[in-house]
């Protein structure tokens, strides 16, 4: 079984976000870059599928600048066979242009399963899997928490409000991984050493026209200062009032 995983390198979720000088994106200084956590589930799923069928190849594809090779290398250390970097100096492309770049590459590749994370934890768009699927005219199941492949059909569980949908689809197909899909493995040192010898193909890529335009990035209003509302049950009415009118959460 041939599996392609689309992976994005993102700032670590603990990173302190500083707004860049352009006022529209983050300041990349002091950022720790990691493999998008949802994409790790996708990579793990791909590896397990390959291990189950005992044949095929897991290819990791990413769009980004040179720095993204370290993220691809991490996936190779987990066990993916090779990587492709669609290299662009515009690391913050919009979803549509990135999906186009991916689709252009994927059109030339043969695969049974195309995996994504359900969203990247940087811009949290959750769009690219469906965009690529449409561009390749493939079915797509998002927020997958369980995936079973049998022959050329797949059964995917997806979490929705109030329950789980079990979706059946034919292969090739696109899936976007949700958190509970599996437990991503920790790359062994053996894996890291082997990954050094695996191939990462870099392809210079021009992103197409953007469909959206970010005009401003700003800090959210600061977290309300924590305070002790009061003591014992007497404080409850005031807490209710705060939750209702200040926090607007109930």
């Amino acid at each position: 079984m041939n599996i392609v995983v689309c992976m994005k390198q993102v700032p670590d979720t603990e990173t302190r976000i500083k707004i860049g000088s352009d006022g529209r994106s983050i300041d990349p200084a002091d950022v720790e870059w990691i493999v998008n956590p949802y994409d790790e589930y996708a990579v793990e799923e791909a590896l397990q599928m390959k291990e189950r069928t005992g044949a095929g190849e897991v290819v990791v594809v990413s769009v980004g600048n040179e720095r993204a090779t370290t993220a691809i290398r991490s996936c190779l250390a987990m066990g993916a066979d090779r990587g492709i970097l669609l290299k662009t100096e515009h690391p913050f492309g919009d979803t549509f242009s990135i999906a186009e770049a991916l689709a252009n590459l994927l059109k030339e590749m043969e695969f049974d399963v195309l995996l994504f994370g359900k969203q990247a934890v940087d811009d949290d768009n959750a769009q690219v899997a469906q965009l690529v699927a449409h561009m390749l005219d493939l079915p797509c199941v998002t927020v997958v928490t369980k995936l079973e492949i049998e022959g050329s059909t797949a059964k995917a569980h997806r979490e929705v409000e109030g329950g789980t949908e079990i979706v059946e689809t034919s292969l090739p197909s696109v899936f976007a991984a949700e958190k509970d899909l599996n437990q991503p493995r920790y790359a062994s040192l053996k894996g890291i050493m082997t990954a050094k010898k695996k191939q990462i193909e870099e392809k210079e890529t021009q992103l197409g026209h953007f469909k959206i335009e970010v005009i401003e990035m700003l800090k959210p209003p600061p977290r309300p200062e924590g305070r002790i509302v009061g003591e014992g049950r007497e404080a409850v009415p005031e807490l209710m009032q705060l939750l209702k009118n200040e926090a607007n959460v109930i």
Binding site: D124, G232, K244
Partner: protein, 328 residues
């Protein structure tokens, strides 16, 4: 020339969902600002009679796609039909709820229409005649303001951020059946089964509100005060590591370093001292309420609101207040 605001009015089993009304309310406001019409699209099977309720939200037109292929949501079927409606009606703005369905469907529709999409908006406004969406990025650590450069301008609305408001005066609404030609054979991914999650409580990681108990609960039975509050709020129940270790709650309920990482809009920590292992799993919650008898407990450092006191007094009182509020 594109014109008008079209809202995807999500329904399931003939019942419209809250996020659909929230989107309609925003659509109406935006349409008002632009001086154009608000319309709604409804997809489903046997739903003709259900669209009446949409009139209360001031829609000028409702486009109904009624077909047995649309009885159950499929990405491909819905995307085909809905994008066909959009092409035909040519609105300048398309709004959808960022529900499970909306999050799945909207990007596929955007791909059909080759247009831009702003997902999970928390604010919408009109600027220079164009839609300007505000949305959180980096898990809420920053916000971006975004235009869509192409038409139609698509956006999804994060549930529960916007309010749903009906209009007082009645309005003439034009209801139109649309031609549905999508063949079942073009739908490759189909829902073959739906497993209801049984309990009415939401998943921990997806819950909007979580009520958690810790060592202070004392035993497994006292978790019923937590459950009562959770049920009153429609919240999930969580637990700290020490409560799970003590065997009072199952491991899947554990929030923290070695359990689940959650970021609900409201996290109510009861009898949880706030050990760092626990904070690692929940400190990104939007609002945190701490109820603990020890005023020096570290949980108060991260809590938005704290009550120092016995949780067995405070929590039931809180449950009462919540029920009172809902009854009102």
């Amino acid at each position: 020339m594109a014109n008008g605001v079209l809202v995807f009015a999500e329904q399931r089993d003939g019942v419209f969902r809250g996020p659909a009304f929230e989107a309609l309310t925003q659509g109406r406001r935006l349409a008002g600002q632009l001086g154009t019409d608000l319309s709604a699209a409804v997809l489903g099977s046997g739903i003709a009679g259900t669209v009446e309720v949409l009139k209360e939200y001031g829609v000028d037109a409702v486009f109904v796609a009624d077909s047995e292929h649309l009885a159950r949501y499929t990405t491909e079927g819905y995307a085909d039909v809905f994008s066909k409606i959009v092409r035909e009606k040519n609105p300048s703005i398309v709004l959808m709820p960022a529900s499970s369905l909306g999050r799945d469907l909207a990007p596929r529709v955007a791909a059909h229409l080759e247009t831009g999409l702003i997902t999970e908006c928390t604010a919408l406004e009109i600027s220079d005649g164009r839609l300007l969406g505000t949305r959180p990025v980096y898990a809420g650590k920053a916000l971006i303001k975004t235009f869509v450069k192409t038409d139609p301008q698509m956006a999804t609305l994060r549930p529960k951020v916007f309010s749903a408001e009906t209009i007082s005066e009645s309005k003439e609404t034009h209801v139109e059946q649309v031609d549905v030609t999508t063949g079942a054979e073009r739908i490759r991914a189909k829902v073959i089964e739906f497993q209801s999650s049984g309990g009415d409580r939401p998943e921990l990681t997806e819950a909007d509100i979580i009520v958690s108990g810790g060592r202070g609960m004392g035993n497994a039975d006292s978790f019923n005060v937590i459950e009562d509050l959770a049920d009153a709020l429609g919240a999930a129940v969580g637990a700290s590591r020490s409560a799970v270790d003590a065997g009072w709650r199952p491991h899947p309920d554990q929030v923290g370093q070695t359990g689940k990482t959650v970021s609900p809009s409201l996290y109510i920590a009861c009898g949880i001292s706030g050990a760092i292992q626990h904070l690692a799993g929940m400190s990104s919650s939007k609002y945190i309420v701490a109820i603990n008898k020890n005023p020096d407990a570290p949980i108060f450092k991260v809590a938005t609101y704290g009550i120092v006191g016995d949780l067995f007094e405070v929590v039931p009182a809180l449950t009462e207040e919540v029920k009172k509020l809902q009854a009102a």
